[in-house]
């Protein structure tokens, strides 16, 4: 329910900047400028599950990419995994699985690089309260040009991996039900090997930046938007991090397992979604704990917390260092998302290296068939977190039901809690400044949300922040440049 606003002032941050998509934060303050309520609203309508109904199932892995221009590959692969099961396939050929994994790690590499260098680095390098005129990618380019170039080139490299595995950057058709429609040619492999060593070097550098920043500011960051939470992700059967395939593991804030090695096709036995009237994004929770206590975090921080180890040596070393620095226990520090994201960046490029040297990628056995099924679930660990695709298909091969829980939706409650915490810690009783408002955005940005994805929206809007008194009079206005 919307909180009573009698005697309360309302601040709206719309849209939240340097995140993907369009979100709005509203803060209600009382007359002493104390925070009474803070919420992240998703204001765009979600309609993709309806659009997909009636379409032939084999179109779905391509169609779902229309859902979001930021992370189409994640949806492509999650849908393909579901459609594998629809066509009765539980195990792909080695070539097919490894091509998909290569695509997936390319996606992780470019997405994490883009987020770190383009979206959040201005806050980390210049400070949360820095002049907004420099607290952006041009400011980074001016003061740290090498870092800005690295970010662009790492993003480009990941996109080139995607292009060679999916067939093209847009309308990629690489993953099909039961397999893949192309292998990696020797020429394509050699093109990707050319810049590989440089990418590994830069990935190490990115881990160092994130690590050094976190450790240097740990006193301030430990409490910033932080709270105890459950964590969820896929893990491999031996407990290793696996971004492409595995079983579900959920842990509580202390690391105790809530459930483990759950076949994700049974996710509805473990996860439910709550609807609230003030947002179009739903609120998933672990059923056994109920909506009040069952919400959880996903994404890099959750994956680092849930896994037992990482199966690439440099990232595993970085993981161990992270755990030593955070007390060898489950980490609930929200700003640690940035460090853990860079550990995953390093893991992704190590995996790309290993795959590029695997001759299975040049194999010609690409597709498997089996006995048709009517319902299936596909899950991947997308860059932003666990991504659920669930479909039902009728005897005429048409999709009759689609349910998606996208990564950002899983983090809906945590992001709201982060907004609330930061607002309470930093806005209470203080004068409202742009820097203080950016604190709220910094907390949201740590989750690297894709708000377009969560609501499949288009659109753009200039940022206007209004301070409105209890009578609805505009007391103050701050405007960002229009886009």
């Amino acid at each position: 329910m919307v909180a009573a606003t009698n005697g309360l002032k309302r601040i709206a941050i719309e849209p939240v900047t340097r995140v993907e998509g369009h979100g709005k934060v509203t803060i209600l303050l009382d007359e002493q400028n104390r925070v009474r309520q803070a919420r992240l609203h998703i204001v765009e309508f979600r309609g993709f599950e309806r659009f997909i109904q009636g379409r032939p199932f084999w179109e779905v892995p391509v169609l779902v990419q229309r859902l979001c221009g930021i992370c189409p590959v994640s949806h492509h692969l999650a849908a393909a995994k579901a459609m594998d099961r629809i066509v009765g396939v539980d195990k792909l050929t080695p070539t097919a699985e490894k091509m998909r994994r290569l695509m997936h790690y390319g996606q992780h590499f470019q997405s994490h690089a883009l987020h770190f260098f383009h979206l959040c680095s201005p806050d980390l390098l210049f400070g949360f309260d820095a002049d907004p005129q420099i607290r952006n990618v041009i400011g980074v380019a001016a003061k740290y040009p090498e870092l800005a170039v690295q970010g662009v080139m790492m993003r480009k490299y990941g996109q080139e991996v995607i292009k060679r595995t999916a067939g093209k950057k847009i309308h990629g058709t690489g993953a099909i039900p039961g397999g893949i429609n192309k292998n990696l040619s020797i020429q394509e492999r050699d093109e990707l090997l050319q810049d590989l060593d440089q990418m590994i070097t830069w990935a190490h550098g990115a881990v160092k930046i994130a690590r050094d920043y976190t450790l240097a500011h740990l006193d301030k960051l430990a409490g910033f938007g932080s709270f105890d939470s459950n964590h969820l992700s896929l893990v491999r059967s031996d407990g290793a991090m696996d971004l492409y395939h595995g079983n579900l593991r959920a842990i509580d804030a202390s690391g105790k397992k809530i459930f483990d090695q759950v076949d994700y096709s049974r996710y509805l036995d473990y996860i439910a979604e709550e609807v609230r009237p003030w947002s179009y994004m739903k609120f998933p929770f672990i059923k056994s704990l109920g909506p009040e206590n069952g919400w959880y975090r996903v994404g890099p921080l959750a994956r680092i917390n849930t896994c037992d180890y990482i199966d690439t040596p440099e990232a595993d070393k970085a993981l161990k260092e992270f755990r030593r620095a955070t007390g060898d226990k489950t980490c609930n520090i929200t700003m640690a998302y940035h460090w853990t994201r860079m550990i995953e960046l390093l893991h992704a490029i190590e995996k790309i290296r290993d795959l590029l040297h695997d001759r299975d990628l040049q194999g010609t056995d690409l597709v498997v068939t089996g006995k048709r099924r009517e319902e299936a679930v596909g899950l991947v660990e997308a860059p932003r977190g666990t991504l659920f695709h669930h479909y039902r298909v009728n005897k005429d091969d048409q999709v009759v039901m689609a349910n998606l829980i996208v990564s950002t939706t899983n983090n809906n409650e945590p992001m709201n809690r982060a907004v609330q915490k930061v607002a309470q810690d930093h806005l209470n009783g203080n004068q409202i400044t742009e820097g203080l408002l950016n604190h709220i955005e910094v907390a949201i940005r740590a989750y690297d949300p894709c708000l377009s994805c969560a609501t499949h929206a288009l659109g753009q809007m200039p940022l206007v922040v209004e301070l409105v008194d209890a009578d609805g009079n505009i007391v103050d206005v701050k405007t960002r440049g229009s886009v």
Binding site: H22, R66, G69, L114, A148, I170, G481
Partner: protein, 170 residues
């Protein structure tokens, strides 16, 4: 023999939102011309790595759908500008050019082709008939300039009202 300048043609938009797919559709049409000196790229939106690609060319033509502009299309010069946006999802042509300039010291001649579209609001594929007509008109206009590698030059180009301020080539 005339040396043709290296041109990048970059169409962007979402083909799953009807006429928002005009940019990628225009890119596909240019790609079908099979011009060796023209690089064609297509994506849902402009992104930071496009700055690296832009920096490798002497001229760039951005192609996008236009919700409300001149029919059937308009052309305008684009200069490097502020890339500050509320997300990387909405990087503008001016922003891409600014990154190309600041990160790679490149400043190619740049133009934006806005093709008038009409249907944007539903999840559906395929251009509306009027948008498809506008696309054909745009490609018919551009093809001679692209073949000759003379983007931004010539009387025909200058007859486009907004493109008449194009700088001299080179």
């Amino acid at each position: 023999m005339t040396v043709r300048s290296r041109i990048l043609v970059l169409g962007y938009g979402n083909p799953g939102r009807r006429d928002d797919g005009l940019g990628p559709a225009a890119a596909a049409a240019v790609e079908a011309l099979a011009l060796p000196h023209v690089t064609v790229e297509s994506d849902y939106q402009l992104s930071v790595e496009d700055a690296a690609t832009v920096a490798q060319h002497e001229a760039v033509l951005f192609m996008d759908a236009d919700r409300s502009g001149v029919e059937p299309f308009h052309l305008r010069l684009v200069a490097p500008g502020e890339p500050v946006s509320f997300s990387s999802h909405s990087l503008s042509p001016a922003g891409v050019l600014r990154l190309a300039q600041d990160l790679f010291a490149a400043r190619p001649a740049a133009y934006l082709l806005g093709i008038r579209g009409y249907e944007f609001d539903e999840f559906a594929e395929g251009l509306s008939p009027r948008a498809a007509d506008n696309l054909r008109a745009a490609v018919e206009f551009l093809a001679p300039f692209l073949r000759a590698g003379t983007l931004g030059q010539g009387a025909g180009w200058a007859s486009q009202p907004e493109a008449s301020t194009a700088p001299s080539w080179g």
